[in-house]
């Protein structure tokens, strides 16, 4: 049930060609080629730069989401966790705290919410789908109370602004953050025991538990990372749009999850990885930008985007028939 690779022994083509990661990268190249063929402007460095910059926000959230999804759970608390962290940072700045304090507080808040997610999931054993959705509602309430439904209008500190929209030697800073976060994710997943435990939980938690690993701590790590990433993305987004607003997280529920799934990570856990999520994030950003260039209204965009995700999943996200 947990293998993402369809059995294709009868064909002459090598099996790795059918792995989610490979398919998603092929898809990325094909999509990009089509977009560039329609509009040559797409292949320009300006546009690629822009895509990578926007992709960074999704990619950073996808780091945490990938870890969580590999364990077979899901984190639906990202939107309001992100918003609350960003607004907390902006408010602290407006109260005269130093930027470092404000950013640290926002990251701590995000991480704490992530840890709270793992309490319900790992200790009370409530399905993360329900629990994190509940935590999302809780954070929405907390944000409204904290801001009196009016996010602070403050000058975003220059460092935060740089984090969201600056560039270093012509490379956007968000992209650099993404590269750093992605490198950490790859190391965690493939070079640490914690990473192995994540896959092990997704495949067979009982077996991991019997091997002497406290699986609750593994969940704690995964969800805390996801909360941290949400807060980091919130800070970057604040810098990118030079303001905080109540709806800033609403675009970041489906999209990062879609990126992870398109990248070949099994939603039931146990297989996949961050390498796929990178191409997933880029595919998603590419789709979004194509849709906005075609100038479909917002509602139409949701329809097309949802449909495309389902179509992509039909293409290679299907489960094996024998497993049922």
């Amino acid at each position: 049930m947990n293998t993402a690779t369809p059995a294709r022994q009868r064909t002459a083509l090598p099996a790795w060609l059918f792995q989610g990661v490979t398919v998603s990268y092929i898809l990325l190249v094909v999509l990009f080629a089509i977009a560039a063929a329609i509009n040559p402007h797409y292949a320009s460095w300006d546009n690629i730069r822009n895509l990578l910059q926007i992709g960074a926000f999704i990619g950073v959230i996808a780091v945490g989401q990938t870890l969580v999804i590999i364990t077979g759970q899901i984190d639906l608390s990202v939107p309001w966790n992100l918003t609350f962290s960003a607004i907390l940072m902006a408010t602290l700045c407006s109260h005269g705290y130093s930027t470092a304090t404000a950013v640290a507080a926002a990251l701590a808040s995000g991480t704490l919410v992530g840890m709270f997610n793992s309490i319900g999931t790992a200790i009370f054993r409530i399905h993360s789908l329900v629990w994190t959705l509940g935590v999302n509602a809780l954070m929405q309430g907390a944000t409204l109370v904290y801001t009196h439904a009016q996010p602070p209008r403050v000058d975003v500190p220059p460092i935060v602004r740089a984090l969201g929209s600056g560039s270093l030697y012509g490379i956007p800073v968000p992209l650099l953050v993404w590269i750093a976060a992605g490198a950490v994710a790859l190391v965690i997943l493939h070079k640490t025991s914690f990473g192995r435990y994540l896959y092990a939980i997704g495949n067979n938690e009982s077996a991991l538990f019997l091997s002497g690993v406290d699986s609750r701590k593994v969940y704690l790590g995964a969800f805390a990372t996801s909360g941290f990433c949400a807060a980091l993305a919130g800070i970057m987004l604040t810098g990118y749009s030079s303001q905080t607003y109540l709806g800033m997280g609403s675009d970041y529920l489906l999209v990062p999850i879609a990126a992870v799934i398109i990248g070949g990570t099994n939603i039931m856990g146990g297989s996949g990885g961050y390498l796929g999520s990178i191409s997933g994030a880029l595919i998603v950003v590419l789709l979004q930008s194509v849709l906005s260039i075609v100038q479909i209204q917002e509602a139409g965009k949701d329809i097309v985007f949802g449909t495309i995700i389902i179509l992509l999943l039909l293409l290679y996200g299907r489960q094996k028939l024998a497993a049922r």
Partner: protein, 319 residues
């Protein structure tokens, strides 16, 4: 035996009774026909949405698009109903059909596309909300007064809303769950392979379960139309989480196979009445969202607190 069957609903039933007692203690006025009707109206849409969620949860899946179908059907009904009774009736049937079709699409992709229900319904959540927004970009619309009254007034102490709910349960839910299909739905949720080996078509059962879910969600959307007398494609947003919460609080097991309608319905009324009780208790509406979220999280934790007492941790893991 009957007690055993409904044992899982106990928490929700007791919770609801306690809440009603508390409500009456804080605000004795609700014991008037008006108060009873108001309270019943508040929870009926969620109760119907909880049924929509329950039938999918029974198969072992989850439907995150319930709220979107509620919003979509609400938008359709309020936009096209007009004032002519004949047209209004036709539109109501059309609305039910649209909701059922939405559920059918979910089922088709889940059952025959073999993609995880979570991700499918998360994607269709966006699709259905998008379609609703195309139909009705701004909240509004025209709902005939007669239709609204028919669903939201009362005969003395008996609110029409409860009659509507009981009608849906009696005419659709019970016959459905007692049919071969209902048995098959519970069977595949309990043990997919076992059901398959017993000759049940897993895919076809799933398809019809999601379709039925769409139908119940459309019923919720129609009731909501009568209750709010307007259409809003995004009105259902909170119904997704609340329906799942009502189902879990009502004793159904995420993962499938176990659950009866009584618990989720009581859970839905519990969650809906909670807001009124908070208001009556003098809590500022400003804290409403925070308190609701907090209570939801606490309710979930309490409903699952028996896990903490488990002596054999392994038993908790392998459901």
């Amino acid at each position: 035996m009957i007690v055993e069957r409904y044992y899982s609903s106990l928490t929700a039933v007791i919770g609801l009774i306690l809440l009603v007692v508390l409500f009456v203690y804080i605000q004795p006025m609700i014991l008037s026909p008006f108060g009873v009707t108001l309270s019943a109206n508040q929870g009926t849409a969620l109760a119907l949405a909880a049924l929509a969620q329950l039938i999918v949860v029974l198969t072992g899946g989850v439907d995150l698009s319930v709220g979107a179908i509620v919003g979509l059907t609400n938008a359709i009904a309020a936009t096209y109903m007009g004032t002519h009774p004949g047209i209004a009736a036709a539109v109501l049937i059309g609305t039910l059909a649209a909701g059922t079709l939405a559920g059918f699409v979910n089922g088709l992709v889940v059952a025959y596309g073999r993609i995880q229900p979570i991700i499918v319904t998360l994607a269709t959540l966006y699709i259905f909300t998008g379609i609703g927004l195309v139909i009705r970009p701004q909240p509004g619309g025209l709902v005939p007064g007669g239709f609204a009254d028919a669903l939201t007034r009362s005969w003395g102490y008996l609110p029409h809303a409860l009659v509507f709910l009981l009608a849906v349960v009696g005419l659709a839910w019970v016959p459905l769950m007692r049919s071969r299909l209902g048995r098959a739905i519970q069977a595949i949720g309990d043990n997919r392979n076992g059901a398959h080996v017993s000759g049940i078509s897993v895919a076809r059962t799933e398809l019809w379960a999601y379709t039925a879910g769409g139908f119940f969600a459309a019923c919720a959307g129609i009731f909501l139309t009568a209750q709010t007398t307007s259409g809003d494609a995004t009105i259902g947003a909170s119904y997704t989480l609340n329906s799942v919460a009502a189902v879990v609080f009502g004793g159904a097991v995420l993962g499938g196979g176990r659950g009866v309608a009584l618990g989720p319905i009581c859970g839905a009324y519990f969650l809906s009445l909670l807001i009124s009780v908070l208001f009556a208790g003098g809590v500022s509406p400003f804290y409403q969202n925070l308190l609701l979220g907090a209570i939801l999280v606490i309710v979930l934790a309490v409903a699952n607190s028996w896990r903490l007492r488990t002596r054999h941790w392994l038993r908790v893991m392998s459901n």
